[in-house]
């Protein structure tokens, strides 16, 4: 089983109109090289699930600037003025979700749950159109799971089976998105042989990962 693919082969799996999840937080932990290739290939009408739309010239923000996103599901868009412009102009649909809710929706998608109950958003516009469930006297919103056709994630050291070791604050949404898509592609700073990683250090098991792109050590 060879999971290692070229960046072109990886990006060719992403078709117009697909739903993609991209790990990262304001660009930190985005798979930058895959994103650049996605911009180059100009895949269109994507639904993007990501914590935020980063900055115009950094990470997933480039996909917004290049008009490749039809719908964005994110918790924060304030650092990318182009997102706000496209949203106000009606060029892109934006669904804003509280960050902790977004994380749990993705986790639920990957964990086979029918949704999660959260107190976040009760009494705000976020509750509109959602089922409210009272448990032991406390009101919660039922938030449904999120899944994607493809998850694009980033790891520091990745072995050829797809086991991932992360560095610093890059884990963010990468670990959970690795569980919640039909095809999971990881961009590795460094690809190593199976056995080179200490299993105690592995955060994402290779069983979640379908393809590995060698991003070259950053």
């Amino acid at each position: 089983m060879n999971k290692l693919v070229s960046i072109d082969e990886a990006v060719d799996m992403i078709k117009d109109g697909m739903t993609i999840m991209v790990g990262g937080f304001l660009g930190c932990g985005n798979p930058h090289k895959i994103i650049d290739k996605l911009v180059e290939k100009n895949v269109k009408d994507l639904t993007l699930i990501c914590n935020d739309s980063s900055f115009p010239d950094y990470g997933v923000g480039k996909l917004v600037v290049n008009h490749q996103i039809k719908k964005l599901i994110a918790s924060h868009v304030g650092t990318n003025p182009e997102t706000g412009r496209q949203m106000n102009a009606g060029e892109m649909e934006v669904v804003l979700v509280p960050q902790g809710t977004l994380a749990e929706q993705v986790r639920a998608g990957g964990a086979g749950l029918g949704g999660i109950l959260t107190p976040t958003g009760v009494g705000t516009v976020i509750e509109e159109g959602k089922e409210k469930i009272t448990v032991d006297g406390v009101e919660y919103l039922l938030e449904k799971p999120l899944k994607a056709d493809v998850a694009l994630i980033a790891g520091q050291k990745v072995d050829k089976f797809g086991n991932i070791v992360y560095f610093g604050a890059t884990r963010n949404f990468n670990t959970i998105m690795a569980t919640a898509a039909d095809i999971v592609i990881v961009e590795a700073d460094e690809v190593v042989e199976v056995g080179d990683l200490d299993p105690n250090d592995v955060v994402t098991s290779g069983i979640f990962v379908d393809y590995i792109v060698d991003g070259g050590a950053n």
């Binding site: 994380a103 009494g123 610093g168």
Partner: protein
């Protein structure tokens, strides 16, 4: 006080609310400045919602690592004893009641403890990020802000902007004083001696209850 002195004054007073061993999440802007005034020898664990605890100061120029950034995307450091984790764990900490204090700014706050700080319809829609979860889940919510927006009250009878959360604010700290949100309404507990009670009332739309033991605000 000029703008910077005023912000520093508020941040210093907020820092006095912290207790040894607290897990604290500071919002972007003025709340971030609170970190500069943590008393020496006090152990505070700063949580960053993008995925770590033990947030340290900005690195020396040239030593920035874009893989270690704060929730605003700026390079920071991690202190000994800190830990990195993913967003699900980060919000387990936040929503699960493991954050002792969160300090945030506000566009509006009202006498029922409602907070609005994430959007102005038709104008500014940056998104709520982690704010809704923080305000809902933290044990204590402190609003640190200038008392008014260029003279217009921000402490209202009822918020008019879309809420970040309902009934969650515990304390409001401004350059004019320290206020607690109670069942009965907003109680002025401490006042900056540069202002009179009338001054504070005139800058506040909400009904202010003056504490019987009103103290001078000390930083």
């Amino acid at each position: 006080m000029d703008k910077n002195e005023l912000k520093a004054f508020i941040a210093k007073r907020v820092a006095k609310e912290l207790k040894d061993g607290d897990v604290v999440n500071l919002g972007i802007g003025l709340p971030t400045m609170v970190a500069n005034y943590i008393p020496e020898g006090m152990n505070i664990f700063l949580q960053s919602e993008n995925g770590f605890i033990g947030l340290g100061p900005a690195p020396e120029p040239g030593k920035e690592d874009m893989r270690i950034v704060n929730a605003g995307g700026q390079p920071v450091t991690i202190l000994p004893g800190g830990a990195f984790f993913d967003s699900a764990t980060s919000f387990t900490i936040i929503r699960g009641g493991h954050v002792d204090i969160t300090v945030l700014g506000a566009l509006q706050v009202d006498e029922k403890g409602n907070l609005a700080n994430w959007m102005i319809p038709g104008k500014m829609v940056p998104g709520m990020g982690g704010a809704m979860d923080l305000v809902t889940g933290a044990k204590k919510v402190i609003i640190a802000m200038e008392h008014t927006a260029k003279g217009a009250p921000k402490i209202l009878k009822e918020c008019t902007l879309p809420l970040t959360a309902a009934h969650q604010v515990d304390m409001i700290i401004t350059e004019m004083g320290v206020m607690e949100v109670t069942e009965k309404g907003i109680v002025l507990k401490e006042i900056n001696p540069e202002f009179s009670i009338e001054d504070v009332k005139n800058s506040t739309e909400a009904e202010l209850i003056i504490a019987e033991d009103l103290k001078e605000m000390e930083i």
